[in-house]
Point group: C3
Chain length 339, copies 3
Amino acid sequence: MKVKEIAEYINGEVSGNAELEIINVGKIETAGKNEITFISNPLYEKFFSETNAGAVLVSKTFKIKEIRNDLTVIKVQDPYLSFVSLLELFNKDETAEEYGISDTCVIGKDSKISETVFIDDFVKIGNGCKIGKDTRISAGSVIGKGVSLGNNCRIENNVVIYKNCILGNNVHIHSGTVIGSDGFGYAKQEDGIFKKILQKGIVVIEDDVEIGSNCTIDRATIGETRICRGVKMDNQIQIAHNVYVGEDTVIVAQVGISGTTKIGKRCMIGGQAGLVGHITICDDVIIGAAVGVSKSITKPGMYTGYRAKPFKEELRQEASIKYIEKLREELRNIINKKQ
Amino acid sequence: MKVKEIAEYINGEVSGNAELEIINVGKIETAGKNEITFISNPLYEKFFSETNAGAVLVSKTFKIKEIRNDLTVIKVQDPYLSFVSLLELFNKDETAEEYGISDTCVIGKDSKISETVFIDDFVKIGNGCKIGKDTRISAGSVIGKGVSLGNNCRIENNVVIYKNCILGNNVHIHSGTVIGSDGFGYAKQEDGIFKKILQKGIVVIEDDVEIGSNCTIDRATIGETRICRGVKMDNQIQIAHNVYVGEDTVIVAQVGISGTTKIGKRCMIGGQAGLVGHITICDDVIIGAAVGVSKSITKPGMYTGYRAKPFKEELRQEASIKYIEKLREELRNIINKKQ
Amino acid sequence: MKVKEIAEYINGEVSGNAELEIINVGKIETAGKNEITFISNPLYEKFFSETNAGAVLVSKTFKIKEIRNDLTVIKVQDPYLSFVSLLELFNKDETAEEYGISDTCVIGKDSKISETVFIDDFVKIGNGCKIGKDTRISAGSVIGKGVSLGNNCRIENNVVIYKNCILGNNVHIHSGTVIGSDGFGYAKQEDGIFKKILQKGIVVIEDDVEIGSNCTIDRATIGETRICRGVKMDNQIQIAHNVYVGEDTVIVAQVGISGTTKIGKRCMIGGQAGLVGHITICDDVIIGAAVGVSKSITKPGMYTGYRAKPFKEELRQEASIKYIEKLREELRNIINKKQ
């Protein structure tokens, strides 16, 4: 594909060799002369003079300090988004679909399975499931009885979905993730022994959700645990029973959210953060990495710290700790002078 | 089932329509007119006037501020425990058992398997295993050679139990959990290269233990890693080699316990807490969420903080940090006045 | 095996009964009279007078305070390393190898599989894979298309390796671990919806790496995520896309390393530590348990704290917090006297 064709595809403006043939996308550090790369983060601007790429996407406001004859520049609105489009463009052929159900699968009775699905080896599908068109289930996954999967879902390897859970369309679940295992609930009896509370609810995952590898999302005690449309979850995240995660919220790896907590829309939760149960986080909240949240948050903004506080307040407190030693010294001076 | 029959079953006292037909249990926010719900947590008392449930369980000390003709009240000793009993009562029929061993299983030689087991598709059982009566192993699980499972165990999907581990009766292990993988042990050689230390011990899990999804419990280097009777573990918990967890201890999600550490009886360990190796926690200790424990704890009570301290002490210290800025200001005033 | 033979094998010096027959290794607390144990950690020296073991390994500098006729002592350079050797010596017979490919496997076309491999039940191997000699793949694992495994690898149960990833020789991966799932990358569009960024890179794992259970290592966006020779990883570790972990680095359980971060050689990262993305950690850095690292580290040494600082500095700051209350009191005294 020629640079001029690429420029047209992403609505960009070429400076340099518009006839250059591009065969792939690449990282700025390693791309070769028939590859295209991008600069978005200012930290990477220094690579402009070093890269071996044949072409580079930059923003319309990018200042070219040095003209390179061997590097064609395409100016676009958002170089990162354009690069993402090119990533897809150059990998289109790879995603050719095969359909079919492997001989080594076990499919339960009374299941309604679309004709255009792909179900790989050693998949077990329980009774009474419903699987939409163009949905793909990879080897080793187990779909419990009564589960409903929408259209165009992608269930990777060794995923487990417990009975009766409901997934919408375009849901992508990575390997080793467990959806719908029992919530963690016990009632302490008079003799001190814990009695298990039956977990009778389900998990509902709405459209366009992606969930990483080795996550766990527990079924509700009664009712549902719900992950709303467009939520993106990284790996090793724990979602307890009856949690609600609002639309377009992004959760980074190893976060834990305790039971019945409700997260708003468009929140971002940093890696290893933890939220206690029975609290509510409003829309548009950013929670930093490894932050502990033990109270509801009612105002949008950024929260940080071992015990979550508004970002600026926490930063100031954290910074103040280093003055303690100086305070001690000054105070000692004052006391000594007085004596 | 009529309200009066339910009241008799849970030893409660009815105010309202004792003839009302109840068909299921429900959450107070969503229950309908033929469902029964409960109020235990004071935070939920406000729902008394709002719920659409037909009946509600409350404690004997609950004060009814408003009489509702459409809401029958049953007073009981412990509404939560009674509700748990009703959850089971209304879901009895669902737990009808099937027995049998799927054709797609592979069972090792010399294994002693009770006649009343259920072993689902794609389960691999190694040589010389012993599986007790009424034990159920779900699809995709792998039981290593020489493993012993007691009676009435429930091994969910894609669980892995390494060779020679021993499980008691009534053990419930959720999907994706790995029992008995190698402890993390290396000896640094003179050349700086780490040499693996063979992990020759096993994991022993006693009766009535429940373990969540995607947990990892490592086998001992020599001897055993032991989870005692009645322990309840949430999801994504890491238990290192040679750890000992005492009876009726409860561990919340994403906790990590390092090697050779010993936890007492009836402890509660909050989510994401971490314990270093080679320490001892006495009985009846409560460790808060995300707490780091680097020393043994010898007194019962509650411990909190990034570095575990007794709760009140830690709370006071944490609170004191916000005075630093004020101290600086006051001290500056004193110094300025002197000059 | 006699004590004198063992002493010769590990180059030790015997005091006591050199003819004693030793049949196994054991823990100092539980070893019996025909077992050998060791003392390395000073905390265990107290067991010298109590152990029922027949023989004990101690260091050449160990001071015997009490001569026991029933306990033969072998002095060696490094008792722990010697013990590790004996662990292997006494367990040699167990590691007898079987070769073969189970009938219940599915092997993709065009795969090059060495003749001396062991591939267990319900393993799925994609098209175009390459599997070296003496490599063992346990039941339930899935090897994606185009994956290359070197010689003498050991893939335990229910492991998933996504397409095109490359493993060297002597790589050991424990159960439930997922290698090569998609990195967590989305571009926010103008309408606020997140667009998935295709993750086209791979994971490369070099020789002599061991990875624990239920870890997740994401494939690169472009290029590779690389785990270098000799790295040892515990359970439940999360490695994001494009991360680089240098040779002989050791990572303890539940650590999370964010995207594009580079870790040097011979580092040690404590359990539950978290590293943000796009930073560099130099060689020979020790990061404590539960430490949060948000900036690059350029000097070797130990770093601790909720926000990583050099160990001594952090310890001093942490300790200073307990003086705040006293400072407040003293300052109040001064102010009161003045008035």
